[in-house]
């Protein structure tokens, strides 16, 4: 079974080398691909110096466009499973084996690494947690399913979902929205408890100013997905 780790990276020069080394050492049955989203720092040079497997986007597409590039790569190279691991070192690759086994044994379409099942490790700020709780609530309201960590980027998907995401994947803040897409298609989503770390470097793509836009945009997107036939 071919498994791929997709590492979206935008200006992650502080942490990308460590992240990839960690993946090479701790997720041995996975291949990896870095999607360099037209970084303005030396992320590209670092990847080339270390001979990392990298795709360089010619223009900045945002997180959704970058991850979708990874899914298209997975499709072209006939991977069975694909998982997103952020380039900032928040996600621990040690959980990947467990997540892929959980997906296979429970015959699921997507498995999300959730911070909030065991409530261990970095729990994010209070404001973020309130936002995440709100998304959990709105997703349950619209689909009836409970997803404890709908904003988690650490998600593993099977071949069928790779094909779906190749055709259509939200541009920015894709996580909660794409969960609703899959639930509406009656795909099976499971969650596995994981421990996340505080980011090793770089800044979050969601600043204080952007968070208002984030809440409105994602709410609207979820709502539109929910009423789509």
């Amino acid at each position: 079974m071919k498994k791929l780790i997709i590492i979206p990276a935008y200006n992650e020069s502080e942490s990308i080398v460590e992240t990839v080394q960690d993946i090479i050492n701790n997720a041995k049955d996975f291949d990896y691909i870095i999607i360099n989203d037209c970084s303005t720092d030396n992320t590209k040079e670092l990847c080339e110096q270390n001979n990392f497997n990298v795709i360089n986007l010619p223009i900045n597409l945002g997180i959704g466009g970058a991850v979708q590039t990874g899914y298209k790569y997975a499709k072209e190279n006939d991977y069975d499973l694909a998982v997103q691991v952020d380039g900032d070192g928040q996600h621990d690759p040690a959980f990947l084996c467990e997540m892929s086994e959980y997906l296979i044994t429970h015959d699921l379409d997507m498995v999300i690494g959730s911070r909030f099942i065991k409530k261990e490790g970095f729990q994010s700020s209070l404001m973020r947690r309130v936002g995440i709780k709100y998304f959990t609530w709105i997703i349950r309201l619209l689909t009836g399913e409970v997803v404890t960590d709908p904003t988690s980027g650490l998600r593993i998907i099977n071949k069928e979902i790779i094909n779906i995401f190749c055709k259509e994947y939200p541009r920015d803040y894709p996580e909660p929205e794409s969960i609703v897409v899959l639930l509406k298609l009656h795909k099976k989503i499971g969650e596995v408890p994981v421990i996340m770390r505080e980011r090793a470097g770089g800044i979050s793509s969601i600043s204080a100013v952007k968070s208002v836009y984030y809440m409105i945009k994602v709410s609207l997107a979820i709502f539109i997905e929910a009423i789509r036939k």
């Binding site: 990298v54 360089n56 010619p58 597409l61 466009g65 979708q68 590039t69 541009r171």
Partner: protein, 116 residues
């Protein structure tokens, strides 16, 4: 309306139409998107040549001042045009995204075959 003003407006419209058509000829403007502007020019020309049309429409719709009808139509048209542009931009941004992804994927596989 004064006949002098009518002539001036007609001349301006003609110049603008010539300018637009020349841009299409030189390939600086895509005919598909210039079509709306040509239609607007022709529309204004018709209203300019037959000013009674505006008064007629105004009394038909119960608008006191004929000039208000003109403003109203102008505003509606501007909104419509902006909306059409937004639709076009959305479509183009998806196309550009797909192109960028395909280019990046092709570059990567080219590099790989070159190295192996």
């Amino acid at each position: 309306m004064d006949i002098k003003l009518q002539i001036i407006i007609a001349v301006i419209i003609f110049l603008v139409l010539i300018f637009i058509i020349n841009m299409i000829r030189k390939g600086q403007l895509v005919l598909k998107y210039a079509l709306t502007w040509i239609l607007v020019g022709v529309g204004i020309l018709i209203l300019d040549l037959f000013p009674n049309l505006i008064s007629g429409i105004a009394s038909l719709m119960g608008v006191g001042q004929p000039i208000n009808i003109l403003f109203f139509f102008g505003f509606c048209f501007a909104l419509l045009l902006i909306f059409v542009l937004t639709v076009t931009v959305s479509k183009m941004s998806i196309q550009i995204k797909d192109l960028a992804q395909q280019i990046a994927l092709n570059n990567q596989s080219n590099e790989k075959t070159k190295n192996s």
